[in-house]
């Protein structure tokens, strides 16, 4: 069983919801990332979404744009990100890792090379924001051949027949984008999410995570009632930015936030 499938199965057995934090690899320094990943796990993360920095993050708001700029200021490459995952795996063999980012760094590395290197490093799934299932048909074979989960987005604007297609194309989980907007938006509407989740569940049998706009334990807990996991990005990245010159302080601040979200989710 894949690590992701395993994680959701064991959470379900315990009656819990997945807490999925996002950080941008290499932000603010390359050597800060692996310790931060361990801190996330210790604070209660079930799965980690590790952002691959990109020069043109079209779907991201200012918080993650700036995280990408900080990471790229010292050239954090896809190779570096894979090396971070490999290092993390030397002491953690159970927490699933999903690489999240944009397609071009993968295109540049080459699909076959990337998939082999990602599996070798211990990556479990890949979410490419600008690779919808229609375009993925040309390349999904590479991912499937090595059992890398393909995680796709579903948006409030996604029509039912597309939801069904995405449900079939994806594996591991699908990522429901809670609102029309970019990452870091504040306008999440829990009732609206609940209505859309009902629609999604009719067509999708794998777990559904919800992200965009979740920044407090309270929202996380409310949203988790209708889905299988919550994804928290900009709220964490903001704390990393605020403590960019002090790795220990950043870890403490992030651990406190993630810990409080864990508590709220499990309450």
């Amino acid at each position: 069983m894949s690590r992701i499938k395993n994680a959701f199965a064991s959470l379900e057995a315990q009656g819990k919801k997945a807490l999925i934090p996002y950080i941008t690899a290499g932000d603010p320094q390359k050597d800060a990332t692996v310790p931060m990943m361990h801190a996330l796990v210790n604070a209660g993360a079930d799965i980690i979404e590790l952002g691959v920095p990109f020069s043109d993050p079209m779907a991201d708001g200012p918080t993650i744009q700036l995280a990408c700029e900080r990471a790229l200021a010292h050239n954090t490459s896809l190779h570096d990100v894979l090396a971070m995952v490999a290092e993390f795996r030397t002491t953690n063999s159970s927490t699933p890792i999903v690489l999240m980012g944009y397609l071009n760094p993968v295109e540049r590395m080459g699909y076959e090379t990337f998939v082999a290197a990602a599996v070798e490093a211990g990556v479990d799934g890949v979410l490419m924001v600008d690779l919808p299932p229609e375009e993925a048909v040309d390349v999904e074979g590479f991912f499937k051949s090595r059992d890398l989960d393909m995680i796709y987005l579903i948006a409030p604007t996604t029509k039912d027949e597309r939801i069904e297609r995405i449900g079939h194309a994806g594996s591991g989980y699908v990522y429901y984008v809670s609102l029309k907007g970019v990452t870091g938006s504040k306008a999440l509407d829990v009732d609206d999410v609940a209505r859309n989740l009902e629609r999604i569940r009719k067509h999708v049998s794998i777990p559904v995570g919800v992200g965009f706009g979740i920044n407090t334990g309270e929202t996380a807990a409310a949203v988790s009632k209708v889905c299988d996991g919550v994804i928290v990005g900009s709220a964490i990245v903001n704390l990393i930015a605020a403590n960019a010159d002090n790795a220990k302080a950043a870890q403490d601040a992030v651990s406190a936030l993630v810990g409080s979200m864990r508590t709220a989710l499990d309450a």
Binding site: L78, L103, N104, P132
Partner: protein
């Protein structure tokens, strides 16, 4: 004219691909909006009312057809092929950009959208969008990199006079690509009531197709005017390539006539040997940016590189996917002109013909001058003079050490 069809004229395919290029690489929120746009466009493309409205505005608002002009003194100076200029600079607002914004504003109107957004580099597309917004009574917001806001002050003021809001974009390299990122972000957030008017033949499907179709009026007019003026089709076409809309507008109707050579001229900046240029077709490789696969300027890790060109309108690291396909199949040749060559061409055309070209168009003139010299006097080159140079006079004065 030969009738053999060695090239697939039905591109893009159903998924918006031109060979390996094009497509729709966007985040999920935009998929529905692009589907809706594609469906609407395919319906209106063959709709007599829509076409009549488009043709009417091209004739009476833009001032089409634009002249095809034999540049006699420039021809004599080069000593070779006859150089004809397709005078898109004489269009209302001073460039080819207005052909496309009229088409897309009409689409917006037919779709019931009251707000339009646009990205702009030199400001020409921003001005053309603000203009049609005024013309059709739409609310308009233009995204422009803060570097470009600084170097194209006059166009920023023009947009404001026209009632548009100009948002200076501070992210990334603060130029055209970042303006496009920010426009996409705004669109994702306001997708229900907003129409995004992309200014060049790039972006996710169906934009490259519909921008091409709206700009193809240029090439169709040249076909007709050539027969009228010299009794046959030209031997070569030359156009500058930023995102590629003026070039594809000239080239597309000619793809099926292989005896007509096509040359796209990219911004060679300080020279193609270094990285200070904006010539993805000449020096880049295929990748994915702004919703399409196409030739890009990127580093070894797939990060998009900053570009350099004297002309803001060519300062873009990607290019429309149809050009990438034309390059791959060998139907068009892509070359470059440097900043210095473009400047020189600007002065030559101004002094020999009394026509001040935009710095973008000056790149096409620069290459056409070289090409003409290698051809015979009974041969004909048509150059797309995509815009006029008024907006660039400040830049040129500064470069010449004049404080205007």
């Amino acid at each position: 004219m030969s009738t053999n069809k060695p090239f697939d004229l039905d591109l893009p395919d159903a998924r918006g691909h031109f060979g390996i290029h094009g497509g729709r690489f966007v985040s999920e929120t935009l998929s529905a909006a692009l589907d809706e746009l594609e469906t609407t466009y395919k319906k209106l493309r063959d709709d007599a009312d829509f076409q009549a409205a488009f043709d009417k505005d091209l004739a009476h608002y833009v001032g089409r057809p634009s002249p095809l002009y034999l540049a006699e003194r420039l021809t004599a100076h080069c000593g070779g092929a006859q150089i004809y200029l397709k005078r898109e600079d004489l269009n209302h607002t001073g460039a080819h950009k207005i052909n496309n914004t009229i088409g897309q504003a009409l689409l917006a109107k037919f779709m019931g959208k009251k707000k339009i957004i646009a990205e702009t580099g030199a400001g020409q597309h921003g001005v053309a969008s603000a203009t049609v917004a005024a013309r059709f009574g739409l609310e308009c917001k233009v995204f422009m990199g803060s570097t470009d806001v600084e170097r194209q002050k006059l166009n920023v003021y023009r947009m404001k006079l026209l009632g548009a809001e100009v948002e200076a974009v501070e992210s990334g390299t603060k130029t055209l690509k970042d303006a496009m990122n920010e426009a996409m972000r705004h669109w994702v957030t306001h997708v229900d009531d907003t129409f995004y008017i992309i200014g060049t033949a790039a972006g996710p499907h169906p934009y490259p197709m519909l921008v091409r179709d709206f700009q193809s009026v240029i090439g169709r007019e040249v076909q007709r005017q050539s027969v009228e003026q010299f009794g046959r089709q030209p031997d070569a076409l030359v156009a500058c390539v930023g995102g590629g809309s003026n070039a594809i507008g000239l080239f597309h109707p000619y793809i099926k006539y292989p005896e007509v050579a096509m040359y796209g001229v990219e911004a060679g900046g300080l020279g193609l040997d270094g990285n200070d240029h904006a010539a993805p077709l000449s020096k880049g490789r295929p990748g994915v940016l702004h919703g399409n696969r196409t030739y890009l300027m990127e580093d070894e890790n797939g990060q998009i590189m900053g570009t350099h060109s004297i002309s803001a309108g060519l300062d873009y690291p990607g290019v429309g996917p149809e050009h990438s396909w034309l390059k791959d199949v060998g139907r068009a040749q892509y070359v470059a002109a440097t900043d210095d060559e473009a400047l020189d061409a600007f002065h030559k055309l101004t002094q020999l013909e009394g026509i001040m070209p935009a710095l973008e168009s000056s790149h096409a003139i620069a290459y056409a001058m070289k090409l003409a010299a290698t051809m015979k006097p009974d041969q004909v080159i048509v150059v797309n003079l995509s815009g006029r140079g008024d907006k660039d006079i400040h830049t040129i004065a500064t470069l010449d050490g004049v404080t205007a």
